[in-house]
Amino acid sequence: MSQNDTRAYLASARAWLAEQAPAYSGAARRGLSVEEDLALGRRWLHLKSEHGYAAITMPKIYGGGGGTEIEKVIFTNEENNYDLPTGYFGISLGMPVPMLLKYASEEVLRELVPPAIRGEQIWCQLFSEPAAGSDLAALTMRATPDGDGWRLNGQKLWTSWAQYSDWGVVVVRTDPTVPKHAGLTYFYVDMKSPGVEVRVIPKLAGESEINEVFFNDVFVPDAQRMGGVGGGFKVAMETLMIERYAVSDEAVGGISVEKFVDLAMRTRINGQPALADGEVRRLIADTVAERQGLRSIHRRAMAAIAAGTEPGPEGAIRKLLGARRRQQVSAVAMDLLGVDGVIMTEGAQPTEDFTESWIESPPLRIAGGSDEILRNTIAEKVLGLPQDHRPDKGIPFNKLS
């Protein structure tokens, strides 16, 4: 894509969003129940799919945009300027559906991908379990052969949006007699199958997207296996990497630095304008400097994508810094608000309400690679430092104590 093409694409995406997005974002979402917001999200995705803006990189025959990775990044960056109800589909279109494109037959793709791209169906990702989070390969949910398929038994945990999902991708243990990474297999499952039970897990605050999912003798045809028997860990890792460069917004879903500056302009510290306070100025400067640096990293990654090479593990940097920054900036904002910070705006998004932004920041430091795991990744993959000692290495799973 030439620079001119990029500019033209950006201009038309921006114009299209300016015309369409307001009816689906901001004031249009205020006061909606989750069900209503989800319905609005489905309509937004459907509208995008009619204009080539849904699943931009996926083939047109399945309802995707047939575009490039760069176009997707450009569009998503612009789209993030509006708080649109896109969160419900982030995992669905970000990981399981792209994996399906790699592993499923033409017939399956024609049946399952279009409804996902139009927002009629949602896919979830059933990886984590009670005793398997950071250490995914420690999972215990079993699949045992049964005729031309498998029987699934066990429990998944933290499955985002499972309560609204039609399909899911799942990693299970098919062979406990080999070391833990080697005995896993990957399937896609119909979430409406008999024996699947989804229970919402109440969160610290707000409406919950997280669930526990129980599998009780759930039958899955072998045709729904993705990858080889025993090859599940590799496919799971591929899933986590597939969104080659996740386009999160710069404030990782929280309050922007611009909104923080606005607040600092209208609040006071010890009688002086907060914006005149040295510590506040330093925080703003640090945040903006970090954002600028991350933008450059982002641009380098985009260049790598455009050149057809993989961006490095530097992508982890954005999440590592962004999550902590959001927590910190939101906390200082609450300091500026004083006791008024105890009151949250009913139904407000974390992009609009400082307390909401703060209260919903902890999972960003945990899900999808915790701060500590990301640091390990940077130390090991970028700096080449040795891994911590892992006593379970090479030992058959059923021999682990």
């Binding site: 969160k203 997280i210 010890n270 609450m334 300091d335 105890v342 949250m344 703060w358």
Partner: protein, 364 residues
């Protein structure tokens, strides 16, 4: 200064810890949050029976005549379990302020019901909570958010008279001219119920005005800072213990997570902050008990360190728990929210830093 609590005081603290550990469980906190009652009345009643509401009230007014050191220790224990009762505003502040008053008739009237647990007090001292105008025995204006204002029997508030002079007034919070409401819906830390109220020509007793009012407010804020620091210390300590216990239980990659240096160093950093906070809180306790000249400075130090410690401990406790830490069922969120509430209530870090620096400059 080499300060420590006496054996009797430590025994009181041990007893309080055992009692609260058994009676103020996390499930009880969840029930409280889901329920209609502003505070946990049966827990409050038990505390009354233990004499906690009478602790700093003179014997002449039906109290136990103990001092602020006992309050420090109880505040730490209340903070450790996040007891959903108006102990801080009623006993630590309300009884304290009334106790300082020169007029015996006021003390006679208002202290015995507090000692007996029949009177809950809300206190509004920080600027920025709204404004009350006082004139001719009446107060008008609006206040909020103020902790426990919706449930209180009495309100002690800062006000201004018609000459603009600072004063301190006492109001029957249940009077018909007080339009008050609990702040419901989505709030930070639903265990400390905040309220808002409008006052229109509400009968008010003038407790003090001018220099005397300023002196009382300053003293009350120092008391608030030090006792809040103890509350924060209790919370921080609870977080650190929770995180340590969990890190000894949770396995990843075949090892307890507490064995990873990333987790060990994290918890060591928390412990270091707690040790600092404890030292500064004890310094504050000593200054409070001896009415030391350094009281204002000690209050600021105690508060700054305690806010640092509790913030870090609460955030990292949740982090160490991983995904489970973010659920309603796990208990990390109670502390995560309380840490932030106490960081912004009764003066945030900026306010106390300013107090500390003003003191340092004056001494220079």
């Amino acid at each position: 200064m080499n300060f420590d609590f006496s054996a009797d005081q430590k025994e009181l603290a041990d007893h309080a810890r055992r009692f609260l550990g058994e009676s103020c469980t996390f499930d009880r906190l969840r029930d409280n949050m889901a329920g209609e009652e502003a505070y946990d009345r049966s827990l409050w009643q038990q505390m009354v029976e233990l004499g906690w509401t009478a602790i700093n009230i003179p014997e002449a007014q039906g109290g136990l005549g103990m001092g602020s050191l006992e309050l420090c220790l109880l505040s730490e224990e209340v903070g450790r379990v996040l007891a959903p009762v108006p102990f801080f505003s009623t006993v630590c502040l309300g009884a304290h302020i009334l106790n300082q008053l020169g007029q015996e008739s006021l003390r006679e009237q208002y202290l015995p019901p507090i000692a007996a647990g029949e009177s809950v007090v809300a206190v509004a001292l920080m600027p920025g909570l709204g404004q009350l105008e006082y004139a001719d025995g009446c107060a008008s204006g609006a206040l909020g958010p103020v902790a426990w204002l919706g449930a209180a029997d009495l309100l002690i508030s800062r006000a201004r008279d018609n000459h603009g002079t600072e004063c301190l007034v006492l109001i029957d919070a249940k009077h018909a001219t007080v339009a008050r409401r609990n702040i419901d819906g989505v709030v930070l830390d639903g265990l400390v119920r905040h309220g808002q109220a409008e006052f229109s020509a509400t009968p008010a007793r003038l407790l003090a005005s001018g220099d005397e009012a300023r002196r009382l407010i300053e003293l009350a804020l120092a008391q608030a800072a030090i006792l809040t620091a103890f509350e924060q210390l209790g919370g921080a300590q609870a977080c650190c213990e929770m995180a340590r216990d969990y890190s000894l239980e949770r396995y990843t990659f075949g090892r307890v997570i507490g064995g990873y240096q990333a987790i060990k160093h994290k918890l060591a950093d928390v412990q270091v902050e707690i040790e600092l906070a404890r030292s500064n809180a004890y310094y504050g306790a000593w200054a409070l008990a001896t009415d030391a000249a350094e009281l204002a400075r000690a209050a600021a130090l105690a508060r700054i360190s305690a806010t640092e410690a509790f913030t870090l401990a609460a955030e990292e406790n949740l982090q160490v728990h991983g995904g489970i830490g973010y659920t309603w069922e796990a208990n990390c969120h109670f502390y995560y929210q309380r840490a932030r509430l106490l960081a912004i209530n009764y003066g945030n870090a900026d306010y106390w830093s300013q107090q500390l620096l003003a003191g340092l400059q004056a001494a220079h």
